[in-house]
Amino acid sequence: MLEKIRKSFMNIKLLRKVFNWGRAWSLWSVHLETGCCGPEDMARACARFDTERFGTLPFPTLRECDLIFVTGFVTKKMAKRLKLTYEQMPEPKYVIAIGHCAISGGLWWDSYSVVQGVDEILPVDVYVPGCPPRPEAWIQGIRMLQEKIAKEGLKK
């Protein structure tokens, strides 16, 4: 019953827009570093680049997060944990793949223990290329995701 009411509410265009606006501007990110784009994660979250301006704040508890940055290459050992982390996050949830390694394996294309592209295990929303991408590129990735969320559930 509740679910039905929720769904019918979500069909109202204005309400949907408000929901989307809220979601887009409070993307809290999980702290799970998979590869070597880690220090740039720190740089973009801290004083100079400060992605909190765009509502993206690294948060320790994954149960309250809705965004996961896949920072760099994903090894086979990490892939299982990454999937587990993703499954534990509440809906709606979004994935941004950071760096060439997360997109296609990058420099490790022939490695025996690296997953060739994170899209083999998670549904990726935005790809940010670079090795590692500059914090400005991260910010652009976040902005692109926000634009994507703003259109969610609305007829074209």
Partner: protein
């Protein structure tokens, strides 16, 4: 006589039978090649008498043409400022070597890694279990020369492009 030559001289006089080759490679570097069954005693001698106390690395090299594996312990002496590489060769088919964990405590992870990467069994090592490789690994030890990496990612890429519906 330089310090390096003195080290070589004392090792040679103490173990005349078991040293295959011992030489000064350059300043601060000596190389001592020994028989694999006496490596423990020579290790003890290096630590106690000559002051080689700071373990730097344990590495293996796979000489597939000669059907041999080489294990190299590199040890730094803080007082003498010399790096000694203590090396021994073992057969590739049944690689076992006495662990030097009782000589240098720091080789714990180094030996475990060498076991994992080359399949060299260190007798007396407390914990030879998987360290770096994925849990479900069932191939041969990866750093051996008969483990080959894929030559081209082409097939993979084409598959991906097809799945995405073209460029």
């Amino acid at each position: 006589m330089s310090v390096e030559e003195k080290v070589i001289e004392s090792v040679k006089t103490r173990f005349p039978e078991d040293i295959i080759e011992a030489k000064v490679k350059r300043k601060n570097r000596v190389s001592i090649s020994v028989r694999s069954n006496r490596i423990y005693d020579i290790g003890l001698f290096l630590r106690d008498e000559l002051g080689f106390n700071h373990i730097t690395s344990v590495s293996g090299v796979d000489y597939i043409d000669m059907n041999e594996l080489e294990v190299i312990y590199t040890i730094w002496s803080i007082d003498k400022k010399i790096l000694a590489s203590l090396r021994t060769k073992i057969p590739r088919d049944n690689p076992t070597l006495k662990s030097l964990i009782n000589v240098w405590e720091g080789v714990l992870y180094h030996e475990r890694e060498t076991w994992e990467m080359f399949g060299i069994k260190f007798e007396g090592h407390p914990d030879l279990s998987s360290l770096l490789l994925p849990e479900e690994w069932d191939g041969p030890p990866p750093l051996r020369k008969d483990f080959l990496l894929p030559e081209t990612p082409q097939e993979k890429l084409e598959e991906k492009i097809k799945r995405a519906g073209g460029w």
